[in-house]
Every structure is written in C-alpha cells, then in structure tokens.
Amino acid sequence: MILIILLLGLGVGVLVGLLGIGGGVALVPAMVYLLHMDQHMAQGTSLFILLPPIGLGALREYWKQGQVDWHAGIMCAIGMLVGAYGGSLVALPMNSQNLKGLFGSFLMVAALLLWRKSRLEGNARAKEQETARG
C-alpha cells in the first residue's frame, strides 16, 4: 500500500512538471479510485499536499526566462486564498455523492478551457510562421 502511494505521488509529479498544471486535479480522483478514499477525505488530503511550495523548482525555470508576471501573481494569490476559504465552506455540508458528481463536471469544464486555450495558441503560432515566411 505504501509503495502504491509513493508511486502515485511520483506519477502525479511528472504530470505537474510536464504541464505546469495538475496536482490536485489528478490527485483527487486517483485517491478516490486507487486508495478508495471518500471524496471529502481525498479533497482535504489534496489541499494538505499542495501546502508546501512543490512548484518552486519549476518556477525557477520560468523565472530565468522572464515568464512570470509578479503583480498578476500576487493578485491571484490573494484572490485564491479568500476564494478557497469560501469554497471549502460550500463543499463541506454537501453529501459526498453530489460533491463527486460536481467535481466530475468541473473537470470537464476545465478540460474544455484547456483544450480551447491550446488551440488558440497553436493557431496564433501558425499565423506568425506564415507571416515570417511571407
């Protein structure tokens, strides 16, 4: 069991470094299905794992390339601190079944947003290359 948990962490970590996203979004369903945790328990545990700055190593790479917007980052941190508190107050009184369904719906919306962003980025790059070629 302990080995499974250690390997699960490693797998999720690869995803995090690869995409700059992931973490909880992959951890929560993994803990529900592989470790048979209740939805609330998986979410609480995920929040605990995300507490230390696990993205610090990755951030350094982005920082070197000047790909960090400080001001926007601080704004985001403040908004998320307050928002997360509000969100947890909404989630706890819900029953586990509904919360699980809602989490699934959220994953679908996030997937669509990611896919759309990826497409737009690709189109912009293709256009740039066309203009460069003349």
């Binding site: 470094g17 917007d69 508190y85 909404v90 959220f106």
Partner: protein
C-alpha cells in the same frame, strides 16, 4: 485589454473564482487559472504557467485546509507519503517537457481530464 487598476481588479476577481473551485474541490486552482489568464488577459501559455506557479507558492489553500481538518477530512499519513513523490516527479516531468511537444501533451491531458470528469459525474449520479 483594460490597463492598470481595471486589469488588476479583473485578475483578482478571476482568481477569487478559481479559489472557490480550489476550496470546493481540494485542488490547487492552477488548472483553471492557467487557461483563464490566457483566454481573458491575453497571457502567453508560458507566462500564464509561470504566473500560476508563483501564485501557488504561498499556501493559498491553508484556510480551506483548516476547514477540512476541523471536520476530520484529512489523511495526514497518506499526504506525507505523497509529497516526496510529487516533488521528485515534478523535476522529472520538467526534464521530460523539454523533449516532448508541450502543446500535444496539453491536448492529450485535456482529453484525459474530460474522460475522467465524465466518468466521475456518471458514476456519482447515474449508477
């Protein structure tokens, strides 16, 4: 694009929405923040990811964690066992990212995420 205070206020509002999702679903929020920074504020993918990472350095989920912990919904032991793996895996993933086309990876990831979400919603509501 709105400049100055308007833009900062907009980002703050969007981040608060991401935070609500973070507290409700026990996630970091980056998965929502990265595409929204790009779609609404014209951040490039790299800049959106870098900015999301810096926003996640302070423990933004701490208030939410305390609420979950008070209700006994935290498995501390499992969490402690997962942290080293996630950290080491992150370094591994960062090295892999240099060899693989990130855009294709993102689309594959979005596909997996969608399937996972559909499965969870289905198993919760129509079983």
């Amino acid at each position: 694009m709105v400049e100055g205070i308007g833009r900062a206020g907009g980002i703050l509002a969007v981040a608060t929405v991401c935070g609500v999702a973070s507290g409700m679903f026990g996630i970091g929020g980056g998965v929502l923040l990265v595409p929204l920074l790009g779609l609404l504020f014209a951040f490039s993918q790299h800049r959106a990811q870098g900015t999301s990472l810096i926003a996640l350095i302070p423990p933004t989920g701490i208030l939410a964690l305390l609420v979950y912990a008070k209700e006994g919904f935290v498995s501390w032991k499992t969490g402690l066992l997962l942290i080293p793996g996630v950290f080491l895996g992150g370094i591994l993933g960062g090295m892999l990212a240099e060899r693989i086309k990130p855009r294709a990876m993102r689309e594959v990831f979005a596909g997996i995420l969608f399937a996972l979400g559909a499965w969870q919603a289905f198993s919760a509501w129509w079983h």
